[in-house]
């Protein structure tokens, strides 16, 4: 009978889950785990510079592959530093497994050094969590943690393991099978048939695609469904890539920063087919006025999403791909000439105006130029703010799991460590991270991790020396009283990059910025490109928070 310590068993179980990369930081209470990890020949450890960075690296791996990824931290501050990134994973349904050290079981509850109740603290931000009370429990807890993280609507799981449990020896007959996702429940065929009939009867349908389409691997199915029945399609921020950019039926992103024609088309639709979405307020605007004339079909694998905000829907609890495949088989080929014409008119009358895309030094131009130079195989991450919305509006996202962004929680500091995670999981691809100076500063220490592993990450920094989206709201909704939203001192990001050992280019001083941008994006290894942008330039159109999506503030370019 095999006998090993809890720590050795944990590492063995992670190996059996086919985990090959773990991001983390060691400390007093997870040293037995690190001692066992150091002896693993199958798992590579990536030492983050801050635990939040480690958890976002796991997110970058998980978001880009769709498979659960692992991060580790010690007890107390190590564990609490994970929490923001775990909350981020909860809101965007990202499968990560976080393994924290804890003080020995006998000291739990004594306010011991670096003791913190991470089990209690992580309840609201995890899908499930564990405090392991014996090494033997690991035999079922670890496979179960992976099963829960990846099943149904994915999410983060935290496993807290006291130090003495890591050292406890355990004997067992055989190792358990690795945890794999549960099969999704069978759909209600009657409801699906009813949905297919509603689609056939509708005159002005719109397909509304969210992160659940990506999660279930349904983007091809949804595109084929849209093409067969001629369904104009909108995407949420999390759904970008579900239908390729430039597809004739794509209306791009809906909501607060959508093109005007997109929100106006939704206003006119008579049927909304919502797939893997949660009617987030940034997407719907004022909910009572969202798609006022439409019947709604809502497909989601999470029963609690159905009827949560929109109550009068035909709700279908089902894996999105399974549901869309059924609809694809049961809807007619249809042309919908009148509706397509109407959409074309809206597109012509209210086009998406992205100003100055010809210049690589403009906020939209830097997105378009960078996209062209890195090509369609690149993975994109963003931070949070104006640059994020501009990337969402302007980047030609052509496939699911290409555009990684913090949607639900909107966490500044996401972009760089998520890019590191994506690069670790995809060494064959280049990764581009759009960021702003405010966001980059929130996890800038991970430049060291990127440099250490010579990862192929290009950080495109739109530097406005301000919290741009905050300033935008202060200008528009607080009578232009800008307060605490600009940085009083300019930072020298080029010297900072140099200090971390990272190549850089400051396009402010470039004679041929397009050429310099192309060159540095084509280089190997990490690089930082700084592009100064004007803090006074806002992101438009913009629906004021709480207003209906038809209330769009437009900038000068839209006049």
């Amino acid at each position: 009978m095999p006998s090993m310590t809890g720590a050795e068993l944990l590492i063995r179980l992670l190996e059996r889950q086919e985990i090959t990369t773990v991001a983390g930081i060691p400390g007093g209470t997870n040293l037995p785990i690190y001692d066992a990890l150091g002896r693993s020949s199958r798992i590579r450890h990536v030492l983050a510079r801050h635990e939040q960075g480690a958890a976002f690296m796991a997110q970058g791996m998980a978001r880009s592959t769709g498979k659960p990824a692992v991060c580790m931290a010690t007890s107390g501050p190590g564990a609490t530093n994970l929490l923001t990134a775990i909350a981020d994973a909860k809101l965007d349904s990202v499968p990560i497994v976080c393994i924290t050290g804890q003080v020995p079981l006998g000291l739990v509850g004594t306010d011991a050094f670096q003791e913190m109740d991470i089990y209690g603290m992580s309840i609201p931000v995890t899908k499930h969590n564990y405090l392991v009370r014996s090494a033997r429990e690991l035999l079922h807890v670890i496979p179960e943690a992976f099963r829960i993280a990846a099943s149904g609507r994915p999410g983060p799981v935290l496993v807290d393991i006291p130090k003495d449990i890591q050292c406890q020896s355990v004997t067992f007959d055989m190792l358990p099978a690795p945890g794999t996702p549960e099969t999704s429940p069978d759909p209600d065929i009657d409801q699906l048939n009813r949905a297919a009939e509603m689609i056939s009867r509708s005159r002005k349908p719109i397909l509304y695609l969210g992160g659940g389409v990506t999660q279930s691997g349904a983007s091809e199915t949804s595109t084929r469904l849209a093409e067969k029945n001629t369904l104009p399609s909108v995407m949420t921020l999390m759904g970008l890539g579900a239908m390729p950019h430039g597809h004739p039926l794509s209306l791009g992103m809906l909501g607060m920063h959508a093109a005007k024609h997109t929100n106006l088309a939704l206003q006119e639709c008579d049927l909304l087919i919502a797939a893997g979405v949660r009617f987030d307020d940034r997407a719907t605007g004022r909910l009572e006025e969202f798609c006022p004339d439409a019947d709604i079909i809502h497909i989601d694998i999470d029963p609690s999403e159905l009827g949560k905000l929109k109550t009068d829907c035909v709700g279908i609890v089902c894996d999105v791909k399974t549901a869309l495949e059924h609809l694809l088989a049961n809807v007619q080929d249809k042309q919908r000439g009148e509706w397509v014409d109407r959409i074309a008119t809206l597109k012509r009358d209210f086009p998406a105006l992205l100003p100055e895309t010809a210049s690589p030094l403009s906020p939209y131009g830097l997105v378009r130029h960078a996209a062209e130079y890195v090509g369609p195989d690149a993975i994109v991450t963003t931070d949070v703010g104006q640059h994020q919305m501009r990337a969402a509006q302007a980047y030609p996202v052509t496939r699911a799991r290409q555009f990684l962004t913090s949607g639900g929680l909107g966490t500044m500091g996401f972009g760089l460590p998520a890019a590191i995670g994506a690069a670790l999981a995809h060494p064959d691809r280049s990764v581009i991270c759009f960021t702003g100076d405010g966001s980059l500063l929130m996890n800038i220490q991970e430049l060291a991790t990127a440099a250490e592993h010579n990862l192929n990450i290009k950080i495109v920094l739109a530097d406005n020396q301000a919290l741009g989206l905050v300033q935008q709201q202060q200008e528009l909704f607080y009578e232009n009283r800008k307060f605490a939203s600009s940085y009083g001192n300019a930072l020298d990001f080029i010297t900072i990059a140099k200090g971390f050992g990272i190549a850089s280019a400051d396009l402010a001083y470039s004679e041929d910025p397009a050429s310099d941008l192309r060159d540095i994006l084509g280089s190997n290894g990490p690089a930082l490109i700084r592009i100064p942008v004007n803090a006074a330039e806002n992101v438009y159109p913009m629906v004021p928070p709480g207003a209906a999506n038809t209330t769009m503030i437009e900038g000068a370019a839209n006049d």
């Binding site: 209690g120 899908k127 029963p303 609690s304 009827g307």
Partner: protein, 97 residues
């Protein structure tokens, strides 16, 4: 004396370990759904427990039931009438005293 009018009992069958009450009570707290009264008893060999929660029967109840069902330590959720429940007896005993 508390009223049972417009109130129902949520009966949850749950795993019995030290974190379960945190999971259940935390869910109601963070969704700002007040729990008026609570009863917990271990079942059988003590591996599972039954939690009874006296709550308002407002329009968010359905969402609360769905959320409670999502908790991994919760095996089953039933909505029962407050009349005839243990809470009714406790209310009567309290008012008598």
């Amino acid at each position: 004396m508390i009223s049972l009018e417009n109130r129902v009992v949520l009966e949850l069958n749950v795993n019995n370990h030290p974190g379960v009450m945190s999971h259940v009570c935390g869910l109601f707290a963070r969704r700002a759904f007040n729990v008026e009264a609570i009863l917990v008893l271990p079942l059988g060999g003590g591996e599972t427990s039954r939690i009874q929660l006296l709550v308002n029967a407002d329009q968010r109840l359905d969402q609360m039931v769905k959320q409670a069902e999502k908790l991994r330590d919760v095996h089953e959720v039933q909505v029962k009438e407050a009349a005839g429940s243990s809470f009714e007896r406790m209310v009567q005993e309290n008012s008598a005293a």
